[in-house]
Amino acid sequence: MVGSTASNPAVADGLAVSVQGLSHSFALGDQHLPVLDHVDLDLRPGNFVAILGPSGCGKSTLLRLAAGLERPAAGRITADGRTINDPDPERVLVFQDPTLYPWRTVRANVGLGLEARGLLRTQRHRIDEALQLVGLEGFKEAYPHQLSGGMAQRASLARALVNDPRLLLLDEPLGKLDSLTRLSMQSELVRLWQEKGFTALLVTHDVEEAIFMAERIVVMSPRPARILDEIVNDLPYPRHRGDERMHGLRRRALALLGLDASW
């Protein structure tokens, strides 16, 4: 497997994640809003899986369930065989909105997880490493209102990475970035994933991004989300954006999303 880290035993291995018959719904007023419909998905440790789907279909809900922020209406998600019921710092979610705490500096925001777990004193250096990784070394003491949208998103990425997650749940984390930063962050994330060996579940609406980054691309239907199909992308890393072999994958993904007419 590409993401394995046999060379570096100090790094935590990825979690094995299994989504089994997962259904979920919300009460919207007196209405019943089904959001996820019998979703089944398996991620082996160190997998990088992308989820593509139309807006509002339930992708973020799936990630929130995997993070343990909510309990599913039916079915379950397991991590290394244990049912996920509550949040746990080994599964970190990078939210769609950066939601940094406005009263904390960038440094203190990134250190949030370490502080919450009482590791700030021993592992403070990791904050600087994470900030360096996302290119925010110069903004440690800045407050969130002094950052651009892209910088805030990078800070929230650093806040997740500091915790050395075994499962990284990414909810359109690069959506707010300018295109240049987005491309470099995509490569950066892939490099990180290969180096650390965590399992990654990426939600994105960007077909290119999914194809460039993931080993498997799961395409979902409009709400309530079902899995339409799965595209396996076994191109070796590091990948090249201009690779001819990506054309076919792109066409298949767009066809599943009902956008093949535009191709």
Binding site: R64, P89, F95
Partner: protein, 334 residues
Amino acid sequence: MAIAHGERARAPLAPASIKAAAGYSLPTFAAVIWFALGAVTFGWPQAQAWPYTLAFALGATGLGLLVLLSALLAQFWPPLAQRVRTGTPWIALLGGLFLLWEILTAKLALLPVPFFQPPQSLLEVFLEDYQRLGESVLRSVWLLARGYLIGAVAGVVLGMAMGWSPKVNYWSHPILRFIGPLPATAWLPLAFFIFPTSASASVFLIALATGFPVAILTWSGVASVSSAYYDIARTLGANSRFLILKVALPAAMPHIFVGLFMGLGASFAVLVVAEMMGVKAGLGWYLQWAQGWAAYNNMYAGLLVMALMCSGLVALLFRLRDRLLAWQKGLVRW
């Protein structure tokens, strides 16, 4: 009080027309007014001999010299220049008002005397009664500080608990709704009866007046914290203690400060009444004592000192807020 939000407003600068005249001319103008005040006070014979006339004249002249001196020093020291520029128009205006006051009272004797006396008689109070005034200030501050701190802490704790626990909210919300709008002074007769000393009763009343707005605003602050803030911390391994102290509390802090400002205003009102009715000490009592003796000068002096004390305490709270909420953009300056 919409202090916590809104546009960033610096301390207001002098209007452009006045600024254009700044440099030498405006400080000179202000100094001349104060010199004139000194000269008029000393030179113009008065119908009635007021004590401290000479001292007042000297003081006015001295202030004029001080204005000139600081304008001169400001040439070499920029921070002072800023102060001189913003302060001088006011110093000039104050000098003019004192001049008018002096002429209308001491010189022309146009105003009825026991109520309106010249500025030097105010000086007399400060110079002769400073001991009693000073003690009154200390007693007022000490009483206020105890009541305010107790009320603020209790308000924050209750508000946090209400925002956090539905059970606490269920039981305390109706009580707050029912009793909160009652002015704390309405409890005065009862409090003086129940509490062993009038001082402890006053502390309780001040705490009550402070605690109510603080509790309500803390509660509304906690209630309006975005649930995403909690989600973030929970996925990163935070426990409830962390969520309360490191997420809910700082997130609610802007609201809490609005409550603290409202509570401070309410506590002043209760302080004065409690001192007049019960404690028989402090500035409220001083005012009443002065009125009892028809010592109008002392009353004016007491009012002036009280205004200084209250605005000083408000300024202190603003300082604290600027420190704790430095992260907020668009703070109004005090």
